[in-house]
């Protein structure tokens, strides 16, 4: 009974108090005209965590959700991967209609092997992508993903990186970005401003955009 109360006292407020989970930003981001999706036209040559090739053709098979991060990231990246895991579960039978990628921002440390081990803690549909820095940069640039290595001295570094999901339709067009700040409610930002919506509505919107 005591244990149960400890659990409740700690977890319940967290679930109730936590706000803002997912920020969904329309595709008019960065002064682009609404409804003008940006097609990924660049050719790149990367590899997935299983040692298979990964290139632009893979983005035209199914719609994709991509997150760019690194395994030496203490909270934004694992939290985003957990959120993606939750989202995949919530998509139910539609989950297979979308591809999910975790693209490294840190190819120096995130080898295929490292990514595979790290991602084994999350939904198994999430595929880790790594490769040569120059090839990765082509993909970052094509999706307006900001990645900047920052030297912290004594051989240490961190990476400033865009922390939102890139939403790509099956024509390899970027149709939006989404962002999370927690795990319960969702916030959508579109041309009309900010609205709070339920998780179900986020799923509905994703399906509408992608499937």
């Amino acid at each position: 009974m005591i244990t149960k109360h400890i659990l409740l006292k700690r977890i319940l407020p967290s679930i109730l108090v936590t706000t803002v989970v997912l920020v969904f930003i329309g595709y008019n981001f960065a002064n682009k005209k609404p409804n003008t999706a940006q097609q990924i036209q660049v050719n790149f040559n990367l590899e997935d965590m299983n040692g298979n090739q990964f290139n632009q053709k893979h983005l035209k098979q199914k719609p994709s959700l991509l997150f760019f991060g690194f395994t030496h990231c203490p909270d934004v990246c694992p939290a985003s991967l957990q959120l993606l895991t939750n989202l995949i579960e919530d998509l139910g039978t539609d989950a297979d209609k979308i591809n999910y990628y975790f693209v490294t921002a840190d190819p120096e440390r995130d080898t295929a092997k490292v990514l595979k081990q790290y991602l084994s803690s999350f939904n198994q549909r999430i595929l880790g992508i790594t490769g040569k820095e120059d090839e990765l940069k082509k993909l970052y640039n094509a999706l307006d993903v900001y990645i900047q290595k920052v030297d912290l001295g004594k051989g240490n570094y961190t990476i400033d990186h865009t922390a939102s999901f890139m939403v790509i339709n099956k024509d390899a067009e970027k149709v939006g970005t989404m962002m999370h700040e927690g795990f319960s409610k969702f916030i959508v930002i579109d041309n009309y401003g900010k609205i709070q919506i339920s998780k179900d509505d986020v799923i509905k919107n994703l399906k509408k955009l992608l499937l």
């Binding site: 006292k9 967290s14 395994t71 990231c73």
Partner: protein, 173 residues
């Protein structure tokens, strides 16, 4: 995920009984919940750290630090950590969807009569070069070194990603 839903369902079913007992606790210093620490005029509430994904080399610790003194204090360093090679005090910011993380070389200032939250996407204690995975049911010791208040040993509780301490804790009382 199933576990996550199980927890939610469990909580939903238990909400009514919980709510009544929650407000009957007159003071935040509830012994059975004890996860708070005090040194001089500095109070540390609910230090926690997340379970790490497989093979993770880094992790972060969070807590609330309250300065009840009329002078500012500084968390200058964190020491005595056996589970990581290095510990730093970090700040994380989010600008235009870009996450940036930097060490606070001069430490974390806690102004007079204020409280500072160390929380995801904000200030955190950064554990670098993890020697073991942060796992369920364990507690992780560290010493917080304050400029004025001195040093205090604390334990970070390992929790899942869905955990969030109650930010409005004080307002209930």
């Amino acid at each position: 995920m199933k576990k996550f839903f199980t927890i939610i369902i469990f909580i939903l079913f238990s909400t009514s009984s919980f709510s009544s007992s929650h407000h009957s606790h007159g003071h935040k210093k509830n012994k059975e919940m004890d996860h708070d620490y005090k040194i001089g005029k500095i109070e540390i509430e609910k230090p926690y750290t997340f379970f790490t994904p497989n093979g993770a080399k880094v992790s972060a610790g969070y807590m609330k630090i309250e300065n009840e003194s009329n002078k500012q204090d500084v968390l200058q360093s964190v020491s005595n950590v056996s589970f990581a090679e290095k510990v730093e005090i970090h700040e994380m910011t989010m600008e235009n969807q870009v996450m940036k993380m930097r060490p606070l070389k001069k430490g974390l200032v806690i102004k007079a009569d204020t409280e500072v939250y160390l929380k995801p996407s904000g200030y955190h204690i950064m554990f670098i070069g993890l020697k073991e995975q942060i796992s369920k049911g364990k507690k992780y010791k560290a010493t917080l070194n304050f400029k004025n208040a001195g040093s205090v040993d604390i334990f970070f509780k390992a929790v899942g990603r869905n955990y969030h301490p109650d930010k409005n804790h004080h307002k209930h009382h």
